[in-house]
């Protein structure tokens, strides 16, 4: 499903304008930009993880002002001020975490940023499953980008994927172990992520471990 259009793009990620006001894709969600193939090149699906959402004036020089009254507030404000749907915009940022060419999945930055004005789509359940079978992409999420802490984006991604994979506890344990490896020299950061991905019970045991073999099948080189 198309959810936005790229309005700023770079090698590490992009900013997209959301088609729906106040409804950016969830933090940590997996999105995809589909690039059609040409005569000399194959098509490419570029994957990215949502790193922030933001709503403000379409014109950056116009700041939003308070609109509520005693009787008109929250959703009713948009009913009483229909111009807001034309003067506000929601944007979201996404960090590039991989791409697929000819069905081969790679979990590193693509050779070129996705083109400006291309559509951003939510990744299908199958794509989330397939992409997150490998966990190398988590490393890319630890790079600093934007206002939201990379640790929080990383944790949001793990939570999102966990839900998309049908509360896959095996995958969650593997992801936690991968994160433990990545943050082995930063105990405080590691705890921050583990607390944030805890689905409600005792966090998975921390320690260097092996991702289940099934998750390694077809792992990128």
């Amino acid at each position: 499903m198309r959810i936005g259009e790229i309005v700023e793009t770079m090698s590490t990620g992009f900013v997209a304008e959301s088609f729906e006001l106040n409804r950016p894709p969830p933090l940590g969600g997996l999105v995809v930009v589909r690039l059609p193939g040409g005569e000399a090149s194959a098509g490419m699906d570029v994957y990215a993880v949502v790193t922030y959402g933001q709503t403000g004036g379409l014109d950056p020089s116009r700041r939003a002002v308070r609109r509520s009254t005693d009787t008109v507030f929250d959703g009713a404000i948009y009913q009483e001020h229909p111009e807001l749907n034309r003067t506000l915009r929601t944007e979201f940022g996404a960090a590039l975490v991989g791409f697929a060419v000819d069905d081969r999945l790679r979990q590193h930055l693509p050779p070129q940023p996705p083109p400006l004005h291309f559509s951003v789509q939510t990744a299908t359940a199958g794509e989330v499953q397939r992409f997150t079978d490998h966990l190398q992409y988590l490393r890319l999420l630890l790079a600093p980008y934007g206002q939201v802490s990379p640790l929080q984006v990383l944790a949001a991604n793990v939570r999102e994927v966990y839900q998309h994979r049908g509360q896959d506890r095996v995958w969650l344990s593997a992801a936690a172990r991968e994160i433990a490896t990545l943050l082995k020299n930063d105990h405080e950061s590691l705890l921050t992520v583990l607390y944030a991905i805890d689905p409600g019970q005792v966090p998975p045991s921390v320690g260097r471990g092996q991702v289940p073999s099934s998750a390694h099948e077809g792992a990128p080189a």
Partner: protein
């Protein structure tokens, strides 16, 4: 910095002190002026104004003549007020505005650009908003001159401002589904294009043609237009009070020995918005007709006006007589304007529909430079080069 801020700062202090010293006397005179307004019967004022208009010497001021709705008696007092009626369950307001890049006398290329924008906001069960703009680069003789065949009367300055008003109003003819609901068409500024007053009748007619024909279109469509004048500086009612007080000829103030002379001279400095500061929020004054000479050219689109308190500001609202003569349309205009101001997040309020129309119409400084660059590029493609005056060139270079 060549500007001597230190010296100006002292002058600012002097100005503020002078104004503060004058305040008690001004407030006293303003109260006397309001007493005068309260004491006059509308029909007696009409009689005096009509008598004065029959005198051989033309009245030196614009005056306001109290008007009544058809089949209704003239309000007895000039301070009669009407509270804002409710708006219909579903209705629209469309606002229009215009801006321009004026012709540059210091450039070898003669052109101007007009950008007009509108905002159509619908309220009620299915709220909606349409924001659009339309631009036109004007470079042909028929655009540049009022009389292109003679290349006479260039459209610039006041005439360009009038052209912008005309184009803004004409844009309403392109608004889709206009009038599906009860709809108010709001203009930012007066409907009385009084700036054309000093032009010849031919110039006035040439420029007013599109304006008046669009007003005719709106009448057929059943969409009342209204001119919204924020922080109005008009003195029509104050001038009518001066005529009321005058016991001689209004153009012979130097020889006046009346006891009311002080009040009369004070009225020359009082704005109608100060006189009508007693209006409660949402209330409007009674209707007045204007004595503006340009209205002689308006025919059936002759414009009347009233003042209203939109909540923190007294504004002047101008409507054509076919609106002023229709109690329902007039009520709708009154109600929709007050409703707009209640929706405004600002204090004092300003109709959101005009704010959005302005945002559509405005041409920013970077856009102006962009247009200039695009024109130069287009000319270069055809072997032409833009030549600028030495003065303009020097200002741009600013070399040291």
């Amino acid at each position: 910095m060549p500007l001597k801020l230190g010296r100006i700062s002292q002058q600012m202090q002097d100005m503020a002190q002078t104004m503060a010293n004058l305040l008690p006397a001004e407030e006293n005179l303003l109260e006397r002026a309001r007493d005068c307004l309260r004491s006059i019967h509308a029909d007696a004022l009409c009689e005096k104004l009509e008598w004065q208009s029959r005198q051989p010497v033309r009245m030196p001021w614009l005056v306001a003549m109290p008007r009544s709705l058809p089949h209704a008696s003239l309000p007895t007092g000039l301070t009669d007020t009407t509270v804002s009626p409710p708006v219909p369950p579903t209705f629209s307001v469309v606002g229009v505005d215009a801006s321009s890049i004026p012709p540059d006398r210091h450039s070898s290329v003669h052109y101007y650009l007009v950008n007009v924008g509108y905002a159509l906001l619908t309220y009620g069960r299915d709220p909606d908003a349409i924001l659009e703009a339309s631009s036109q680069l004007c470079f042909r003789d028929e655009d540049l001159y009022v009389f292109p065949e003679k290349r006479d009367v260039p459209i610039e300055g006041i005439l360009l401002s009038a052209r912008m008003e005309v184009e803004a109003l004409r844009l309403l003819q392109q608004v889709p589904d206009l009038g599906t609901w009860p709809t108010l068409a709001l203009l930012d500024g007066p409907l009385i294009l009084w700036t054309l007053q000093n032009e010849t009748q031919e110039v006035q007619r040439a420029l007013l043609h599109g304006f008046l024909s669009t007003m005719g279109f709106l009448k057929e469509t059943g969409v009342p237009p209204a001119g919204y004048v924020s922080y109005t500086g008009s003195r029509d009612v104050a001038n009518s009070l001066r005529v009321w007080l005058c016991q001689g000829q209004p153009n012979e103030c130097d020889r006046c020995a009346s006891d009311d002379r002080e009040l009369c001279l004070a009225l020359a400095k009082i704005r109608d918005r100060e006189l009508y500061a007693f209006l409660a929020t949402g209330e409007r004054s009674q209707l007045f007709s204007s004595s503006s000479q340009i209205l002689e050219e308006y025919g059936e689109q002759r414009v009347d006006f009233f003042y209203m308190n939109v909540g923190g500001e007294i504004v002047r609202v101008e409507v054509p007589r076919w609106v002023a003569s229709d109690a329902d349309l007039l009520s709708f205009v009154h109600a929709a304007i007050y409703d707009q101001c209640q929706r405004s997040p600002g204090v004092p309020p300003y109709p959101p529909v005009l704010q959005e129309a302005h945002e559509q119409a405005v041409i920013t400084a970077p856009e102006r430079r962009l247009v200039e660059g695009m024109v130069e590029q287009a000319l270069r493609q055809y072997g032409r080069r833009v030549v600028r005056s030495a003065k303009e060139d020097s200002k741009r270079r600013r070399g040291v």
